[in-house]
């Protein structure tokens, strides 16, 4: 027989119940079918043979009812009724199912339904908003990474690397004419250029003395002409090789050419060495062509 008072005496009032959680001021009940959550004579699902609750599962509310007739069949004790998603209709359903039940239980069921619908609404709102994901940091890993970072910083030697990069860029000429440093290199290149012109002049004289008579008489003029030819050659060769250049002044062209020569000379590799040699060959070819012209002219006159 179901004696609620006996049960309550045994478990409830100042006795042991495994669902009971005691705090300083209050007693709570952890039973999942408890309607209020407190440990009371009227709220205890074990000590009340006629009892009802509202519970929520996956966003749907259900009404659970327990009557004394089924007290002997624990498997079938709780009757589960699915409540409507509409709040008002759900309230009506509760009223309909719990008609003639004690006021307390009806009221508490409705209160519980209200609370549940409120928190379900809040869940749906929050999932639409941004959700912050907290990623836990492992202290050991953080310490290890910090140490590695320090070591990497030491290995990087940042100042040296930056300085080196800047100097490389200066050498390559990305800064153009802003800095007037390549003066020393310019002088060296000028010396080189003078040597080249001297060697070319010697070659010119040797070839011309072998083939033409005019060369012997007009030595000075030929040398002057060869100088002009060299200047022309400079222009021509620069036009050939530096198609990107759009500057017109000869001086700048020759400067840049010299810079190129200097950079080629400074950079280590086999290819740049061919540069001046190539240029020499070019000079020779061009001079050949130009030498024929004045000869024809002079013949004409």
């Amino acid at each position: 027989m179901q004696h609620d008072d006996v049960i309550w005496d045994l478990i409830g009032n100042k006795s042991f119940c495994s669902y009971k959680v005691k705090t300083k001021t209050q007693q709570f009940c952890r039973n999942e079918y408890n309607i209020t959550g407190l440990c009371n004579r009227s709220s205890c699902p074990l000590a009340n043979s006629q009892y009802a609750t509202v519970r929520e599962e996956k966003g749907l509310c259900y009404l659970y009812m327990k009557v004394i007739e089924r007290a002997a069949f624990p498997a079938r004790m709780w009757e589960k009724v699915k409540l409507d998603r509409n709040y008002a209709k759900a309230l009506e359903q509760i009223d309909e199912n719990l008609i003639y039940w004690p006021r307390f239980i009806r009221h508490k069921c409705k209160q519980r339904l209200t609370k549940i619908t409120q928190y379900l609404i809040r869940i749906r709102k929050l999932t639409l908003k941004r959700q912050r994901k907290l990623v836990p940091l492992s202290r050991k890993v953080e310490r290890r990474e910090k140490r590695r970072e320090e070591k990497a910083l030491i290995a990087a030697q940042l100042e040296n690397a930056i300085e080196k990069e800047l100097l490389d860029r200066l050498k390559q000429g990305t800064y153009g004419d802003i800095y007037n440093f390549p003066i020393h290199a310019f002088d060296k290149a000028m010396e080189k250029q003078e040597e080249e012109t001297e060697s070319e002049e010697e070659e010119d004289e040797e070839e011309e003395s072998g083939t033409r008579e005019f060369v012997a008489e007009d030595e000075f003029e030929e040398s002057d002409l060869s100088d002009f030819e060299d200047m022309n050659n400079l222009k021509v060769s620069s036009d050939e090789e530096e198609d990107d250049e759009e500057e017109s002044s000869e001086e700048e062209e020759s400067e840049e050419e010299l810079e190129e020569e200097k950079t080629k000379a400074k950079s280590k590799g086999k290819a740049p060495l061919k540069g001046p040699i190539r240029k020499k060959r070019a000079f020779v070819e061009i001079e050949y062509e130009q030498e024929t012209e004045p000869a024809q002219k002079s013949k004409a006159t």
């Binding site: 990474e145 970072e149 990497a152 690397a161 990069e165 800047l166 390549p182 020393h184």
Partner: protein
């Protein structure tokens, strides 16, 4: 040096003898192996010492270790901490001496041989021993060049777009983060700082695109300190997520210069060798406008070393053609790449190109990915 060392050993021995004389009783009480053994040895050694000063130290060590200890003895077996420590120190000193002698010998040989000497050995560094990464980019690689011609940054590199950066933070930033954002905005030209106010990034991104921004930078904050950076290239470009550390604001810099001017700085990208590093490097490069104003003499550096990217901002001046002076202005920080995502910021459904997986990727000390 050798003579002074011998003198020191002499002094030591004398001290030990005097100590023993006074505290012989205490020694006898202590039941350590070493001290007892030494007591036996010392009186034997005292007459020997005057004869063989050159071998002072070695004879001190040899009889101690050879005659009285079992051969498998090691320093770590002594139970008494003080004695163990002193024995260990002696061991270390001996090792150090041996090493020094070896070095000296090698140096002498090198001098004697002159040009015929064998080449100097290069010390092993982590960079030397780095495990070769298959994705290291060859400068003449056509495939890479083709990829780069058609990827999301091609518009920038073909000079079709100018960078415009939006800098923002996570919710409710603290003073340090706000100041960091402001300083970043001075370093990066065409940068605007906006207050976050709880907006969702997915909603912010279309607005940015409509206003013509090319980059979105979100600085994440934790415990009043910036610790994360999300760099999103805007017209559906890649999104990179970095861990930020060692942020130093301008006023915390030592010997810093004046504030950076409005000139467009140059960019230096160092050590981005692998394919992943290449794409990250291009990301950084696209932050800055194309044509740096050399008049400003400012340079922003992203230097990659062992997967840590160090950012520095300097002002340089060429003293002559072989020397340049640099002065650090501007904030500095280090970044470590955590993930690279293909589209714009979408942490749930995004397609990740690269994610840092600690257990797989951090297993070797010599393997780096950038």
């Amino acid at each position: 040096m050798y003579n002074t060392h011998v003198k020191q050993t002499e002094q030591k021995q004398q001290k030990m003898e005097s100590n023993e004389a006074t505290t012989s009783k205490s020694f006898s009480k202590k039941k350590g192996k070493t001290k007892k053994v030494k007591r036996k040895v010392k009186p034997d050694e005292a007459p020997v010492q005057e004869m063989d000063q050159a071998e002072g130290e070695e004879t001190e060590m040899k009889p101690v270790s050879g005659a009285c200890f079992p051969p498998t003895f090691s320093v770590s077996e002594i139970k008494n901490k003080q004695r163990r420590h002193s024995m260990f120190l002696k061991l270390k000193e001996e090792k150090r001496k041996q090493k020094l002698e070896l070095k000296k010998k090698k140096k002498k040989e090198r001098k004697v041989l002159g040009d015929k000497a064998p080449p100097k050995e290069v010390p092993k560094t982590i960079e030397n021993q780095r495990i070769y990464d298959e994705t290291t980019v060859n400068p003449e690689d056509e495939e890479v060049a083709f990829d780069e011609g058609t990827d999301e940054f091609s518009a920038y590199f073909n000079r079709l777009t100018n960078p415009k950066v939006l800098i923002t933070t996570s919710d409710r930033p603290r003073g340090r983060t706000v100041r960091f954002c402001e300083q970043l905005a001075t370093v990066i030209p065409h940068a605007h700082v906006y207050y976050r106010r709880g907006l969702a990034l997915k909603r912010v991104i279309p607005q940015c695109v409509s206003r013509g921004f090319t980059y979105l930078m979100v600085i994440n904050e934790d415990r009043k300190v910036p610790n994360g950076l999300v760099l999103c290239h805007l017209p559906d470009g890649p999104t990179a997520h970095f861990k930020v550390s060692n942020v130093r604001l301008r006023k915390e810099m030592k010997r810093r210069g004046k504030d950076p001017t409005e000139h467009v700085p140059e960019v230096i990208l160092n050590n981005f060798t692998t394919r992943l590093g290449h794409s990250i490097g291009r990301m950084f490069a696209a932050l800055f406008p194309h044509d740096p104003q050399f008049v400003g003499r400012q340079v922003a550096t992203f230097h990659n070393q062992r997967d840590f990217i160090f950012f520095r901002f300097h002002r340089y001046i060429f003293k002559n053609e072989k020397k340049v002076g640099i002065q650090e202005l501007g904030p500095r920080f280090t970044l470590k790449l955590r993930s690279l995502q293909k589209g714009t910021f979408d942490s749930k459904f995004g397609e990740y190109e690269w994610v840092h997986k600690r257990h797989e990727m951090d297993s070797s000390r010599r393997k780096f990915h950038l």
